[in-house]
Symmetry: C2
């Protein structure tokens, strides 16, 4: 399938229809089209975009920053440098976060081993 209703898209990306509409209202999904009755139609492009939004959000980027990134993305190769700079900075943040998670994992494991 390559055209989805909001219910189908919701199922596909594991976000509620409320959330999808909310993301759109916040400007994160500028390319979702509507049919003659005003109903949203999601295409594969849209689902991929949502997938990347989930990736950025899941690694701690705020919706506000995700929107900034998306806005740069919309401006095409003119803003390629800025856009990639954002991603590279974010990459560092993720690496740091993984380190922190590993440290915390060790703390939790130590506590489990304590047996007191």
């Amino acid at each position: 399938m390559s055209i989805y209703t909001i219910a189908q898209a919701s199922e596909e990306v594991e976000l509620t229809p409320y959330t999808l509409r909310y993301y759109e209202k916040e400007g994160l999904l500028p390319n979702v089209i509507k049919d003659s009755a005003g109903r949203r139609k999601y295409r594969d492009d849209d689902l991929q975009r949502i997938g990347f939004i989930k990736c950025l959000k899941g690694t701690g980027m705020s919706l506000k920053q995700i929107k900034e990134y998306g806005d740069l993305y919309e401006q095409g190769k003119a803003k390629f440098k800025e856009r990639n700079a954002m991603l590279e900075e974010h990459r560092e943040k993720i690496l740091q976060e993984i380190k922190t998670q590993k440290k915390y994992l060790k703390m939790v494991e130590a506590k489990i081993q304590m047996k007191i």
Copy 2:
């Protein structure tokens, strides 16, 4: 030093005095004592507890669950099993989260490499 004012503890654990009072109000720090003038005095025990709270919180546990854990902790070895079960479950969550972070890291890196 082994006794800290709220300002010193705040500095030590990198949380604002507001947050420390808030955690206490929420029951996460049941053992903080006060001097004759009613001012909080943090001991090393308290700082360690805050350190572990930061660990749990930093790995996605809600303050509500952290309080549950702390409440079990207060009940000593009677609740050892339950307490450790919580930690073991949380350990799995952290492991899963690290996996997810690594997957997302790859996605971001792929996007960086795209050069479009």
